[in-house]
């Protein structure tokens, strides 16, 4: 794996939900949610990469509340996760979506003894504890995603097509919400908490725009916005973990744009390296110049945006020769659209990408780039 080879893990179902285990600092773990309309067929796979041996260990849990569209592990507790799911009721021939908070019985994946091993080899999906299910206000509402508040354990945000709401986990009640303005009623597609500004801002993608709302006020007017961030639909966004005014967006125009939202007319960085819609973008938590994107051209790209992450003040000269902007590496092991790509929460150099056909590819930043960044 260190020599640029990736480790591949295959699932039987279609997948479009992936999350690193945020609460875990040591083990490289990813959680995958499957997407199948067959009743009781959905699972959550916990995949752990054993760093020393390069071996892959997995555990499978049943997810009977429906197919998983979105999955986030809790940043507060490694064993807790939240899924955005959809289920079909043949009786009413209707689909219902919801957000469920679940708890894994154990975070351990690597078998400790033979008994453990045989249990895993039996491939029996284990049960998770369902802590809470939140339903949309209107049953027909299409949910896009649900995100944990970065620090406040009792708060989550739910992005529906027509409403963005902050919910209290205990009561399930909506604390604040925002709806699309204007006559066009452009639908929301995605959203993220702003890790800066006291974690009280939630940015949602609405068609081609980025709208950021202040969660302390019940105003539907965004505190800031980046209008027409993409020429086509915007699909995903991520905030720079270190620079409080920078965020990256991707969309159907195959572009990766980085914005300074204080002056959001033109992107400060833009690349069009994918050959189809880009579905996901993630900043590396430790090295903000590394960005991971996944696209329906069946590729994950590792891109450097060093030029916009340079400190001019102190050691500008020293860092000027680190990385050149552009694609560092293209990961072509996928054969279907890559809808998810995530950095590991434990190791800054490991990441996973997941394609629709159920293939998880674990890769590592090539060593020479790593040294360039570190040295």
């Amino acid at each position: 794996m260190d020599e640029g080879n990736s480790i591949i893990y295959g699932l039987e179902h279609q997948t479009r939900a992936l999350s690193p285990q945020y609460g875990e600092n040591d083990a490289i773990r990813f959680l995958i949610g499957t997407q199948s309309l067959k009743p009781n067929a959905n699972q959550v796979h916990v995949v752990e990469l054993e760093e020393d041996t390069g071996a892959l260990h997995t555990k499978v849990f049943k997810h009977d509340v429906g197919e998983i569209w979105y999955l986030r592990c809790s940043p507060h507790d490694a064993a807790t996760l939240m899924t955005t799911h959809n289920s079909y009721d043949p009786a009413t021939s209707q689909c219902t979506m919801g957000v469920s908070i679940l708890k894994l019985p154990t975070v351990e994946v690597i078998p400790k003894d033979l008994e453990d091993l045989s249990a895993i080899q039996g491939r029996n999906a284990e049960d998770m504890t369902l802590l809470k299910t939140l339903s949309p206000e209107k049953p027909e509402e299409v949910l896009r995603c649900a995100e944990w508040h970065p620090t406040d354990e009792s708060r989550i945000s739910i992005v529906c097509e027509n409403i963005v709401s902050i919910r209290d986990i205990e009561t399930g009640a909506s604390v604040v919400s925002a709806s699309p303005e204007g006559r066009a009623h452009l639908k929301y597609t995605n959203g993220k908490w702003n890790p800066h500004q006291g974690q009280c801002q939630f940015a949602a993608l609405q068609d081609t725009h980025v709208k950021c709302y202040d969660t302390r006020s019940d105003s539907t007017k965004p505190v800031w916005s980046v209008d027409s961030a993409h020429s086509q639909l915007a699909r995903d966004l991520d905030f720079n973990p270190n620079r409080q005014f920078q965020l990256a967006t991707v969309g159907d125009d195959a572009a990766l744009n980085i914005w300074d939202f204080r002056k959001g007319k033109e992107p400060i960085f833009t690349r069009t390296d994918h050959s189809h819609w880009v579905w996901t973008v993630r900043y590396n938590t430790y090295h903000e110049q590394l960005l991971l994107t996944g696209s329906s051209d069946a590729r994950a790209l590792l891109t450097a945006a060093a030029s916009v992450c340079r400190d001019l003040s102190d050691d500008g000269e020293k860092r000027s020769d680190t990385l050149e902007d552009g694609v560092l590496q293209s990961y072509e092991q996928h054969e279907d659209s890559v809808y998810c790509a995530e950095w590991s929460a434990a190791d800054p150099w490991t990441f996973a990408s997941l394609s629709y056909d159920g293939r998880l590819v674990l890769s590592r930043v090539p060593r020479h780039f790593k040294y360039k960044i570190l040295l």
């Binding site: 309309l37 043949p90 021939s93 689909c95 069009t272 050959s275 819609w277 329906s296 051209d297 056909d357």
Partner: protein, 713 residues
């Protein structure tokens, strides 16, 4: 003999005696005449003296007369003659009065001359004369030179001002004539006079002349720039006059920098003219383009001959450039003072090349700007095609045509001149990238238009509770229309490439069964690059748009949940798209792969994944009268390999038939088909034909008008 000698001796003695006598007499005579000779000479000298005295006495009157008549030169000459005498004998009382009188007159004269120097009405020659006279009157040189220079300068400044005010009032020819007659003439006189008078002190062209000249050049430059409407002919004549005069001036002034400047100004003129020409070409081209754009935007539904528009645009551009080149050739006329110079030929050749390259680069920039991210939405795609083709044509032949045309023109106008080879690489790269950008934009534009239709229609529909399909949705027809009209437009301009494969053509799409919807099957199919550079031929363009549209369909289908009827509706849609789109593009495998993907994705996203019976598809695709029921009978036939039903309209079968079999059996299509089937049936078990129904033949399941040929795969 002796006596003879004696006689001779005596004779000689007598002769010498006589000679002595003659000498004596002549001396006596001259002695007597000497006195009267002296008298005569004294008389003469007295006469001369008297003449001189008379001249002196008359001098004051003559001087004042001469001055009164304005014959300053005579006066000064007379005074100079008398001056020496007057100086010597000035102390004698009789001359003293004359001298004072003369001096008074002369100082008056000096004053007049000086006044004349500073007066504005005096001409330059008068000025020179005055200074010359003053010099003869022994004014000190340094003060005189200073005076002369200030006067000359002020005079020339005045001329410059007049000329400046004239810039807007008259054309270049008039201005140059005025300039030549006023400023340059005076300058010539002043400079030559200056050299004559102060030659021993300073051989350089005085500084002020330099500054005047540079001001003049500046003026001339602004003259060149102001009246843009002046025709080339008059412009060149003006320039010619100016240049001639300057050349003449260089003989007088003999300044290196000035002759350089005059060459420079001609070079500048040529480039200026070239700039104007290339600007006007660009402007007119832009106008032309706007006109075409409007006509394309307002065309409605009727088709437009794009080839004709392209041709007119291309011919127009080439002709405009050629006309500009010809226009510049006027600088090389033999009659012009600079026309035959080799530097001029080189400049003209450079300027012409500049026109060509600038026009081409402007064209590319214009195209690139048009297809840029901001403006691409409202440009008719036909225009993109035309511009792309125009760039390609220019790259292919246009630039070379223009270059050879230029060489021809140069050869005619400057026969001896050898033009150096121009580097066309940069232009070619510009044109190629512009063409590529236009093509890419066109493909994405068409693809996105269709993709947008599909996306909206897929996302807006409730697939879960969809009613049973009755036919392809209207959006499919619109998508087909969009793609085929773009294909038709591309066909007008871009040659058709070779159709890649038709082995799998027009088979019924059947989604890969879920087990085969796995990485394994995809390993063998090529990765599909959706937004990839578009090739410059019709099929590649259409395939490009097709990819963008259908990949969007796949992705959107995956975001929805389908009921049984929803899935079947999509099946009908996909079937319809396959039928209608298989004729465009060059890669049917790709089309089928994408459509299969869409159908397979829908099947995965279906809560009750039951595909429609193939026989029922015909009800969905009524206008095609598809006949599928045959497939049912086929399933009994276990000896046959898995087969595909070929759904064909009558004209299609002929086409396929001709593809598969080079010979033609009968001119009548129907009989032809029958013959071919019979031929095939001779092959017995190897025959690809499973079932054949002739037109008009009766069958309980089939309509009489239908013709079905069923092949084994």
């Amino acid at each position: 003999m002796r006596s003879d000698f004696q006689i001779m001796q005596e004779e000689m003695n007598k002769l010498s005696e006589n000679m002595g006598k003659i000498t004596r007499f002549s001396a006596e005579i001259s002695e007597s005449l000497k006195e009267s000779g002296t008298n005569v000479s004294r008389l003469c000298s007295t006469r001369q003296l008297l003449d001189k005295l008379q001249f002196l006495f008359l001098l004051p009157t003559q001087l004042s007369n001469a001055i009164k008549d304005g014959r300053y030169t005579d006066a000064v000459r007379d005074y100079a003659r008398a001056q020496r005498v007057l100086q010597r004998y000035g102390n004698q009382p009789s001359f003293q009065s004359i001298q004072t009188e003369c001096e008074e007159i002369i100082s008056d004269l000096k004053k007049t001359l000086r006044d004349r120097l500073f007066s504005s009405v005096t001409t330059a020659s008068e000025l020179a004369e005055s200074v010359g006279l003053l010099q003869q009157l022994q004014e000190s040189d340094s003060s005189l030179e200073e005076m002369f220079l200030t006067c000359a300068e002020s005079r020339l400044e005045q001329h410059l001002q007049t000329l400046t005010s004239l810039i807007d009032k008259c054309d270049i020819l008039e201005w140059v004539e005025k300039c030549n007659s006023m400023l340059l003439n005076d300058l010539g006189i002043i400079v030559s006079c200056y050299h004559e008078m102060f030659a021993n002190q300073n051989n350089e062209l005085p500084e002020f002349a330099e500054s005047i000249m540079s001001q003049l050049f500046h003026l001339f430059e602004s003259v060149l720039k102001t009246p843009d409407n002046v025709g080339t002919e008059i412009y060149i004549r003006g320039l010619d006059k100016f240049f001639r005069k300057l050349q003449a001036m260089t003989d007088i002034i003999s300044s290196e920098s000035m002759s350089n400047r005059s060459v420079e100004i001609v070079v500048q003129c040529i480039f200026h003219k070239a700039l104007i020409q290339s600007k006007s070409v660009q402007l007119q081209f832009k106008e032309n383009l706007t006109r075409i754009r409007q006509s394309l935007a307002s065309k409605g539904t009727e088709s437009i001959d794009l080839k004709e528009i392209l041709n007119s645009l291309q011919v127009y551009l080439i002709e405009k450039v050629q006309a500009s080149l010809l226009d510049l050739m006027a600088f090389l006329q033999n009659s012009l003072s600079f026309g035959l110079k080799s530097w001029c030929a080189k400049t003209v050749s450079d300027a012409c090349w500049k026109i060509i390259s600038e026009t081409m680069i402007n064209l590319s920039e214009l195209v690139k700007k048009l297809v840029g991210p901001q403006t691409s939405n409202n440009i008719p795609f036909e225009l993109l095609l035309i511009l792309a083709k125009l760039c390609l044509e220019m790259q292919d032949s246009g630039v070379t045509t223009l270059h050879s045309h230029l060489l021809k023109l140069l050869d005619e106008s400057a026969p001896g001149f050898k033009a150096d080879n121009k580097d066309t690489n940069e232009i070619m790269v510009h044109l190629a990238t512009a063409a590529q950008a236009a093509l890419d934009t066109e493909v994405v534009y068409i693809g996105q238009t269709a993709a947008q239709m599909l996306r909206v229609s897929v996302l807006a529909r409730d697939w879960l509770r969809a009613p049973e399909p009755r036919g392809p949705r209207a959006v499919c027809r619109r998508v087909v229309e969009t793609l085929t009209s773009a294909d038709a437009a591309a066909a007008q301009l871009f040659p058709s490439g070779v159709k890649q494969s038709s082995d799998s053509s027009r088979r019924t799409l059947w989604p890969r069964i879920p087990s085969s919807f796995s990485p394994i099957s995809r390993i063998f199919s090529e990765r599909i690059e959706v937004f990839s550079p578009a090739g410059a031929d019709r099929a590649a363009l259409s395939t490009g748009a097709l990819k963008v549209a259908l990949k969007a369909l796949v992705e959107c289908v995956r975001l929805r949940t389908f009921g049984r009827h929803g899935l079947q509706q999509l099946q009908v849609d996909v079937h319809f798209l396959q039928q209608r789109l298989s004729c465009i593009g060059n890669d049917e495998r790709l089309l089928n792969a994408l459509l299969e993907d869409a159908l397979a994705s829908a099947q995965l996203r279906c809560v009750d994944p039951q595909l429609m019976e193939p026989s029922k598809l015909k009800e969905g695709v009524t206008f095609d009268r598809v006949l599928y029921s045959i497939q049912n009978s086929e399933s009994d036939n276990n000896t046959r390999p898995r087969s595909y039903c070929w759904i064909v309209r009558i004209h299609n079968i002929v086409q396929d038939f001709n593809n598969n079999c080079a010979t033609k059996f009968h001119h009548n299509d129907a009989i032809n088909n029958k013959l071919w089937v019979q031929e095939m049936n001779k092959l017995d078990t190897d025959s690809p034909v499973l079932y054949y129904k002739e037109q008009k033949a009766r069958s309980d399941k089939l309509d009489a008008d239908d013709l079905v040929v069923h092949f084994a795969h």
